[in-house]
């Protein structure tokens, strides 16, 4: 239909065929859209918008800049390296007075405190008498709080004077700025996020590998059994799936703790001494065991549904063509289960990356994951921007793995069940 003018095909009543087709399809399209609209709206409101805002908050924080207009102005006219002179202190005095009036010293101070610990009270205490400052302001302010002299505080205020900032991403990577604004690693005793991110990644990969290793034979057995027996076994697989996560985690605690069932059994069998019980809980082992168990169905189900569709004739064909049973498995059966392995593995990996309750309960000190940090910043320190930056990094890692998966296996081949 390249030459539309000479080759125009029309319907019986003379309308152009394409227009008639479009009109008849439009109704169907509208109906389809209306059908998905509620879900789309729901996802938009409950998922996309909050995640977008979370990402936005990781690099946008105006709690200082909106409360300190004079300082924002001063920083914009005085480039980095300018002397902190009387005019700077005058701006500070004006802003502190404004903060007192608006009761916003705590809010502004909190933002600077993220960067330079111990400065929140600097703001709140100085702001208390801010309406009484007289020039020269530098002297007046330093008389109340000597810490205003600290170049680090000024560097932090300059950095926070723009609501758009990468400070939280720096913090999320155990980085900070020194007095001159250069990016440097944080003090050794404070570096935690990269280490935890690495551990989260390792733990997730270990758990994923373990789930696949344990789930594969079970899924294979399920797929090769007659339907009735398979369903019975399937219920056993799904039973823990239907139980509350907390119940399952607690069950593992009962089993694994040092006075728990497993240790009791080992002591009773005489395999270990009563005072040498094995620590299987409140450490990495506990996290791996409990999470592998909890996430196992997520590998078994996609694997099973893929294996179910592979007729036995493929392996038979391979065997008849001269392949040993191992070769037939490796070269013919295994590649065909890849969509299931990929889907199950990716699912478990993504879930494991974000897991939070189980490591919190059975993880102890060295079974912690990055999501426990995110939760801490959301709930305890209330540094939402840092929590957002950490969450954004987690999201990025998951997306990277998604991308690798797409490159290696192809997302269209994913089969979730």
């Amino acid at each position: 239909m390249t030459d539309a003018t000479s080759q125009m095909i029309t319907t019986a009543d003379g309308k152009p065929l394409k227009a008639a087709l479009a009109a008849s399809l439009a109704v169907r399209r509208r109906r389809a859209f209306l059908l998905v609209a509620p879900l789309f709206l729901f996802i938009l409101i409950s998922f996309i918008v909050p995640i977008g805002q979370m990402l936005f908050q990781s690099f946008y924080n105006d709690t200082f800049s909106k409360n300190a207009p004079a300082l924002v102005e001063w920083f914009s006219t005085h480039p980095e390296g300018s002397e902190i002179d009387e005019s700077a202190y005058a701006a500070l005095a004006a802003d502190l007075a404004l903060m007192k009036k608006n009761r916003s010293a705590g809010e502004a101070g909190t933002r600077i405190n993220y960067d330079v610990s111990g400065t929140r009270s600097l703001f709140t205490s100085t702001a208390r008498g801010a309406d009484k400052f007289q020039p020269p302001f530098k002297e007046a302010i330093l008389k109340v709080e000597k810490k205003w002299d600290d170049p680090n505080v000024w560097r932090a205020m300059r950095s926070a004077s723009s609501p758009f900032t990468l400070d939280f991403y720096l913090a999320a990577n155990d980085l900070t700025r020194d007095e001159t604004g250069k990016i440097v690693p944080v003090a050794e005793g404070q570096a935690i996020y990269k280490k935890l991110m690495g551990r989260t990644l390792m733990l997730s990969l270990e758990i994923t590998a373990l789930c696949l290793l344990l789930g594969f034979p079970i899924a294979f057995l399920l797929s090769s059994l007659p339907m009735r027996k398979a369903m019975l076994l399937m219920i056993l697989v799904l039973l823990p799936f239907w139980t509350s996560l907390l119940v399952r985690t607690t069950a593992w605690m009962v089993l694994l703790q040092s006075q728990g069932v497993v240790n009791d059994l080992l002591v009773w069998l005489g395999l270990i001494r009563d005072d040498h019980r094995i620590q299987m809980m409140y450490n990495e082992t506990g996290t791996i065991v409990a999470m592998t168990h909890i996430l196992l169905p997520f590998t078994i189900l996609p694997l099973y549904s893929v294996m179910k569709t592979i007729p036995p004739s493929y392996v038979r064909a391979a065997r008849s063509l001269g392949a040993t049973s191992w070769t037939a498995f490796r070269r013919v059966y295994l590649p065909q289960t890849l969509p299931g392995i990929g889907a199950g593995g990716l699912l478990v990996f993504i879930l494991a990356m974000g897991y939070y309750i189980t490591p919190a309960l059975v993880g102890g000190a060295d079974g912690q994951m990055i999501s426990n940090m995110i939760a801490m910043h959301m709930q305890k320190t209330l540094n939402w921007s840092l929590a957002a930056a950490l969450a954004a990094e987690l999201l990025a890692i998951v997306l990277i793995f998604f991308w690798i998966y797409d490159k290696l296996v192809g997302i269209d081949k994913m089969k979730l069940g």
Partner: protein, 357 residues
Amino acid sequence: MKKLLILTTALVATGYAASAQELNIVSWGGSYTVSQVEAYHKPFTAMTGVKINSIDADNPATPLKAQVEAGNVSIDLADIELSDAIRLCDEGLLEPIDPAMLPPAPDGTPATEDFVPGAIQDCAVANIVWGTVVAYDKTKFPGNEPSTLADFFDTTKYPGKRGLLKTAKRTMEMALVADGVAPDKVYEVLGTDEGVARAFKKLDSIKKDIVWWEAGAQPPQLLADGEVVMTTGYNGRFFAAEVGEGKPFGTIWDGEYMDYDLWAIPKGAPHLEDAKKFLAFSTDTQRLADQAKYIAYGPARKSSNALIGMYKDGKTEMAPYMPTNPENMKNPIWTDPTFWADHDAELAEKFNAWLAS
């Protein structure tokens, strides 16, 4: 943009609407909320006819902050921690409280003198004082029961696993006090790098024996399961296990960490007048004493101590279990919310880095 996020959070966190002749009160849930409902809510409703919706939250400060920032407030009153009370007050998210509205003690002592020090804040009034204490399994130390915080860190004399709260706050202060720092100097020391190192060193000495807990329900459970022989925990929870369930627990009243829970009214509360009325009512001498019948947290008024009677079982004298009992308040660590507002993030990071090392 931030408004929007807060709005959605607020919508998800608390999906209820405000209407006339009722109060929406957010608290921590569990037996603690039950004690408030029995001691405050029911008598208040009986007296005024105002219906009270009791809402549970993991930390009531979180929905409060979200709602006020979104400008869509449905909470009238929230039970919050001291550090949050000060922080939210500084940020202008709370209604200021005039101490004059609080009723005097029965003997005429004005409220400002009747409350324990620090209980009346600019924007919040304490109702209870609670302690983070060390409890131990009596059966594990027959004839040689530990009695000081230093004993907690002495695994040679008192062998066995220890339960400790997995946060910098409370744990680090207790480590310093056990190491010999005077409770009133603890924040001065903790404010220095040397002090932080000292706290970690003390913790290092028992690190391999520590079982970390996070939720308040865990310590009595760990103790009962025999997972630990000694653990820090909230005194009300240990009381419930010891008196309520008859567990052989003992409590060390040395270097206990004192905290308040306070009532605060958010800016823009839909029923401001009723909320104030409730606040004054629930913090009077009798009401605070009444609450002690249901939970072992100390009343924030001195005058209430005399009125504390029996536990609801009718045979247990509550006074020995009260953190505010003078017998128990010999060496307490009083929390410093200003210090924690300044150092929470930094020490949390250092603490987690120490944990992971």
